[in-house]
Symmetry: C3
Subunit: 138 residues, 3 copies
């Protein structure tokens, strides 16, 4: 009824966006379940999960909009306290969100053809990320 | 334990926002389940799911804020590559998100009185949308 | 298989952000379940659920970015209709989202050490909030 998989991913930092759809499809296949939901969750407060048409131009466009919303070089109290440089990373992560839930029907993940699941690394440095894929169904 | 319903909806394009709460309440009723969670997911990368107080003025306000975040007429690499006009649509969709999970208790969906579930069409043209409502419970 | 808990919280209004992680960990412990998912949902259209590193400076930074996205003093049609002052509250809530889904494994909630679950009060006045924590698993 429940199938869990943890995926470790090394990222390059600062708006590197990775297509993780394949991991999700593999997990559904391994689970042997036919119908249910897949929860995708990233541990940590400077990364996010979403979907996008995974195309290089669009990934750049997305970074640019995030820079408009929470600019890297703006003043953040968080950075003053920790002598850190990732205030913008935290805010962007909280806005986009750390979880996504996708249904699957007859073993098929209900993503569109041009809709991929992405891990968005928002921190300024490369990080080791832990993605939890939890599948629940019958 | 699992009840699935696919809803087909024709949209009008560019920030048309549709109240889909009724479909969700109907699905919970049809499922005969008493307690559990409802996952609402939209297939495709230029639409999003969220909640709002479904009031005409507010829907306009929401469009206006989305226009500030990712303006329709800004430059998007995505449009250059595909000779397309929906770069802003993709970015807005990735920010808002494609899934929502709502609990129901004693057959009652836990939405507030002024809180409706919405499909947000962000693409520039009318589209045929596929919404998956997956109910899991007992 | 399903464990539900409703939490009542009094907020202070306008971007007061509360750490609700403890309620979630307690609920998982009370549920006696070992593995599964936790859905956290806030009823109402002027509050949101997300995760953040719960640190005072960052909470201020977050409010500041929300003010840039949907300024309190901008013109909102919603306010004209209702002679109200919370147009920005609604928009911010719809952008951030009202639900979050987190996996737990061997009774452990899969949050990072610096990642807390937060209730974001976006309305202008103090409110009584109702948070639903629904746990499903085995």
């Amino acid at each position: 009824m429940i199938f869990t998989k943890s995926i470790k991913i090394k990222t390059k930092g600062e708006c590197s966006i990775l297509d993780i759809s394949k991991y999700i499809e593999d997990a559904v296949s391994e689970s042997k379940l036919n119908n249910g939901i897949i929860t995708v969750f990233v541990t940590g407060s400077t990364a996010a999960i979403s979907t996008i048409e995974y195309e290089e131009g669009l990934l750049d466009d997305f970074s640019k909009v995030l820079e408009r919303i929470a600019p890297r070089d703006a003043y953040y109290k968080h950075e003053e306290r920790w002598h850190d440089d990732n205030g913008h990373s935290h805010i962007r992560a909280s806005l986009i969100g750390s979880s996504l839930t996708i249904p699957f029907i007859n073993k098929e993940v209900m993503l569109g053809r041009w809709q991929q699941v992405i891990l968005i690394e928002l921190d300024t440095k490369p990080r080791d990320r832990n993605i939890i894929i939890q599948i629940m169904g019958e």
